[in-house]
């Protein structure tokens, strides 16, 4: 029995990665949920919006690096983030003006808007591949680790090391800042309140003089900022590859639905639920269990419930269970 080492191993392989991944999913799911709450459709182009924002960040980062500008131990991509957000905002506003607004004025059925977002998804996907190509791009620099496994071992004298990557630390900090800002905006400012009112009851909001086009515009701006942030953080943590962002669509939607579509708090909770389940179910528990199990009873196999290739299955099964037993999600959906 060696609880301390077990705990450190657990933190190193499960808790830290899951918290970082959960933050990224939560930011992505917030974007999906805001679109659903205000514009009332599931945006299939969200993954590719993230890819587009992250792509601008990668390009600006390369530019800054070429100009010799760096951010000390922090990745240069953080300096590029504001530019990327700006670029992404321009993109989504153009898309809204050219594509979505027409259907809004027609009061088209939500499913038509979903198909329209499929078209936008194709275009963005093509655009990103056209500009930066379909391959992996690395753009993280600065210090790689906050805590190195070896330093941790020397510091504590434990057998297990705990490594925290800079990108993981940044992910959590940036995500917390973004979420605090978002909730402050939604709950305290006049515009935020008008957004919530619009989401809650469109007709009443229109009656009380809220300008719907303004609400929609603000929503797109926030969504672009959230999507870009999520995309850049994910890219820093793993690596930037256009197709991966498309695949993130499933866990992101699962997070938003599990928490309750349209509910920002639910999106955050959903992101962490999905991330923790994915990591715990695909992690090989042998190491942790060997520390915890009594002498002679150590597991012989890897004690891995599912291979990591089945991580989509995990988010999917959770999604299905929640939909079957609690169709509005864990937090009541459809209120912002």
């Amino acid at each position: 029995m060696d609880l301390l080492n077990a705990l450190v191993a657990l933190a190193n392989f499960v808790l830290v990665p899951a918290v970082a991944y959960g933050s990224q999913l939560a930011l992505g799911a917030l974007g999906v949920t805001l679109i659903y709450g205000i514009l009332r459709f599931s945006n299939f182009a969200h993954g590719d919006t993230m890819a587009f924002g992250a792509m601008i960040a990668v390009l600006v980062t390369w530019g800054l690096q070429a100009a010799g500008i760096s951010f000390g131990p922090l990745p240069t991509a953080l300096l590029a983030l504001p530019f990327a957000i700006l670029g992404c905002i321009v993109l989504v506003l153009i898309t809204d003006r050219l594509v979505y607004r027409f259907y809004r004025e027609q009061k088209a059925k939500p499913v038509i808007l979903v198909i329209v977002s499929m078209g936008v998804m194709f275009i963005l996907n093509g655009l990103v591949r056209f500009i930066i190509g379909p391959d992996d791009q690395r753009f993280s620099d600065g210090a790689r680790f906050l805590i190195k496994a070896r330093d941790f071992k020397e510091m504590t004298g434990l057998r297990e090391g705990l490594a925290i990557k800079t990108s993981q630390g940044i992910t959590v900090v940036v995500a917390v800042v973004a979420v605090v800002l978002l909730f402050w905006f939604l709950n305290k400012t006049r515009t935020g309140k008008s957004m919530r009112a619009y989401s809650d009851n469109e007709d009443l909001a229109l009656l009380s003089g809220i300008n719907p086009e303004r609400v929609v515009m603000i929503t797109w701006i926030i969504v672009a900022a959230l999507a870009t942030t999520a995309g850049v953080l994910y890219g820093l943590d793993k690596s930037f590859k256009p197709f991966v962002y498309f695949q993130l669509l499933l866990p992101i939607f699962a997070s938003a639905i599990v928490g309750g579509l349209g509910n920002p708090l639910g999106a955050i909770a959903g992101g962490f639920i999905i991330a923790f389940s994915e990591v715990t179910i695909t992690y090989a528990w042998k190491k942790v269990l060997t520390y915890v199990a009594p002498e002679g009873l150590e597991p012989s196999g890897l004690v891995q419930f599912l291979s990591t290739d089945y991580k989509f299955a995990v988010s999917f099964v959770i999604l299905l269970i929640v939909l079957l037993f609690k169709p509005t999600g864990l937090f009541k959906g459809k209120v912002i």
Binding site: G119, L124, R129, G133, L250, I257, F316
Partner: protein, 437 residues
């Protein structure tokens, strides 16, 4: 212009485009486009059944297509010697145990009184069942994958004629669709979309990782051809009667044999397409088809008339998926190999959707037309893009960075173009090229 004339013209235009490819590029390319166009048309009929007739939003087409491909391997390839004895029966047993676990959990959920005891029992049943399943499953899988891993390592098939694999692919896809529909069809349309998107990814993940089933990412090669309709080039080149015919056409034996093999496929695919199209047309005109459209247009009213909406949805979901499964089986037969990593959602799910929307959802002929047209564009946009890029960059100095980048990226124009076509059709002609009557 009257309706039938316009539609015939549209089909003639697409046929002309394919013929033009034959005259200007090569007949090989033209027949390739025709063959994949035929398969795409069948997929489009499947999606049109679900979306056009019933308004079901299925974005898991890729999964059903892949299941059709899996069926080809399981039906038509020869069995791996010793695999069944080594672990095949064990795997079947473990899968039965797994199914029994789920059934037991469902029984507990329905029979036991609600409360904490019920939840705990369900979790206990699932956990015990899972470990028993893994205990039986894992060693058997290892045994099968150990057999000659360089060329086999899988369970193999039944060694039946490959044509039987086509209906089998439909059945496999239908079975999967029944399971999915049973759980997900009660949900709202957006949720069904996400659920089908997920199930398709899971099916691909299973096919990539379960090496014992169809060799996973090691791929299965050498799937038999549907002879005698489709022969082998080598045999044809030694057949004097064939050589005489090739000579009469003025073709050299090698070109003639490749063309003849491809045309054999075209013939088979055309028969399947015509049969399915006829069936879909009959279904559309029948009382059943009218009921489906009534349900699509107003579920509440249809329910008030005593129609069982959920059951009808399940029915058409299974039918449409089966059609996609048949198309998938045909495609794998055409390729002669199963490559799980080749299944991409943009290509196999969303492109089929573009076909249906552009052609005209709710109209079978529209779906078929859209399939041929979009597939033609999907193939031809790449050379057109390349040509366009070289035109744009012709003024730039050679060796410039931008010029190289633009020409390299021309290949990615096709996704962009497909999105643009979808958006333009949705905006200016939302009912498609051949609208529903």
């Amino acid at each position: 212009m009257s309706e039938p004339v316009k539609n015939t013209l549209l089909f003639a235009v697409v046929a002309g485009l394919i013929l033009l490819t034959g005259f200007t590029q090569s007949w090989n390319t033209a027949i390739l486009i025709l063959n994949m166009g035929l398969i795409s048309a069948i997929m489009a009929i499947g999606v049109n059944l679900q979306w056009g007739f019933a308004g079901l939003f299925n974005v898991g087409v890729m999964g059903f297509v892949a299941l059709g491909g899996l069926a080809v391997v399981l039906v038509s390839t020869p069995p791996t010697p010793g695999a069944w004895v080594a672990g095949g029966y064990g795997i079947v047993l473990s899968l039965l145990l797994g199914a029994a676990t789920v059934v037991a959990a469902v029984l507990v959920a329905t029979k036991m009184p609600k409360g904490r005891m019920q939840t705990l029992t369900i979790i206990a049943v699932l956990l015990v069942g899972f470990f028993v399943y893994r205990a039986v499953f894992d060693p058997n899988v290892a045994a099968i994958e150990a057999i000659d891993p360089a060329i086999a390592g899988n369970i193999g098939g039944l060694n039946l004629p490959v044509l039987l694999a086509w209906p089998a692919g439909g059945l496999l896809a239908a079975g999967a669709a029944w399971l999915i529909g049973k759980t997900a069809l009660g949900l709202r349309s957006d949720y069904l979309a996400i659920a089908t998107l997920g199930i398709a990814e899971i099916i691909i993940a299973v096919m990539k990782n379960e090496d014992w089933l169809a060799r996973g990412v090691k791929n299965v090669y050498g799937i038999p051809r549907p002879s005698p309709v489709v022969g082998y080039e080598v045999d044809l080149q030694q057949d004097p009667a064939f050589l005489a015919r090739a000579d009469w056409f003025g073709l050299d034996p090698i070109t003639a044999s490749t063309l003849s093999v491809k045309l054999g496929y075209s013939l088979l695919f055309m028969i399947v397409l015509l049969v399915l199209l006829w069936m879909a047309q009959m279904a559309l005109k029948s009382p059943w088809g009218r009921m489906m459209r009534a349900i699509r247009d107003n579920e509440v009213a249809a329910e008030a008339m005593g129609k069982d909406v959920t059951r009808r949805h399940l029915q058409i979901f299974v039918l449409g998926s089966a059609v996609c499964g048949i198309a998938g089986a045909m495609m794998t037969t055409l390729d002669g190999q199963l490559t799980p990593s080749a299944y991409q959602p943009l290509r196999f799910t969303f492109l089929v959707w573009v076909m249906v929307i552009v052609g005209g959802s709710g109209n079978n002929f529209g779906a078929v037309l859209g399939a041929f047209l979009i597939w033609f564009l999907w193939v031809q946009v790449e050379p057109i893009g390349l040509w366009l890029m070289s035109l744009i960059t012709s003024g730039m100095p050679d060796g410039s960075w931008l010029k190289a980048h633009l020409i390299d990226s021309a290949a990615h124009m096709r996704l962009f173009t497909m999105g643009l076509i979808l958006l333009i059709v949705l905006r200016f002609s939302p009912r498609g090229l051949i609208p529903e009557k």
